[in-house]
């Protein structure tokens, strides 16, 4: 889970390491993910989102498909 200056830099990095290029996430989307995951982390009743909640969170940000599905078996 890394930062890149641009899509071109992601493409270069993936090619250099023979990795598949994955969906890109903007800084605004990343902030939403960070607050959703962690804003209650220091509180007594915090918990990680469950798979259904994760799918809903990702979908709300336009992050859909098997890649963002925590229960997908497409990558076994």
């Amino acid at each position: 889970m890394l930062f890149f200056r641009s899509e071109e830099r992601v493409r270069e990095w993936c090619a250099a390491h023979e990795y598949p290029m994955r969906p890109l996430v903007t800084m605004d989307q990343l902030w939403t993910l960070a607050t959703t995951w962690y804003s209650t982390r220091l509180q007594e009743h915090s918990r990680r989102p469950q798979p259904d909640e994760m799918r809903s969170i990702f979908a709300g940000l336009g992050l859909g498909g098997d890649f963002w599905n925590p229960q997908s078996d497409s990558f076994s």
């Binding site: 889970m1 890394l2 607050t35 982390r41 220091l42």
Partner: protein, 146 residues
């Protein structure tokens, strides 16, 4: 509050206060229990995916978003320095602390520095990108690599 929750909060609050991982002994002191009981709680917290341990079973590698070891993602909040486990977690530290913070990281391909001032509403307009190589279903197969 359950013992596991008290243990989890002791760990996370120590990270929040200091920027560093607590030792097993410090956590035991904070929860008022013996070290072996805390160690058993660590195993259960790992199963809940809120704690990642080093191979010794007692040193904390991750209490996401906090990292127990130095990384390329440095976050400064109120003059305290924190290391984040990944790009996502670098935003997660100001989010968890509900405080503005400075995120210092880099482009993984070019090495260009990233310096962002995060306020309570998030980052300023910025066209940098986040890329996650590992599919969500496989994140915890090897969370350190993820």
């Amino acid at each position: 509050m359950s013992f596991d929750t008290r243990t989890k909060l002791a760990i996370y609050r120590y990270f929040a206060e200091t920027g560093h991982r607590p030792s097993l002994e410090v956590v035991a002191e904070r929860v008022g229990a013996d070290a072996s009981s805390v160690r058993e709680a660590y195993v259960r917290l790992r199963a809940q995916r809120v704690l990642v341990l080093e191979p010794d079973g007692v040193s904390i590698r991750m209490a996401p978003p906090f990292s127990g070891v130095p990384t390329q993602h440095l976050v400064i909040v109120d003059d305290t320095k924190y290391f984040a486990n990944c790009a996502w977690d670098s935003f997660g530290i100001p989010a968890a602390l509900h405080r503005p913070g400075k995120v210092h990281s880099r482009c993984e391909q070019s090495g260009e520095p990233l310096n962002l001032e995060i306020d309570l509403e998030g980052p300023p307009p910025c066209n940098w990108l986040f890329h996650c190589l590992v599919p969500a279903a496989r994140w915890w197969d090897d969370i350190v690599f993820t």
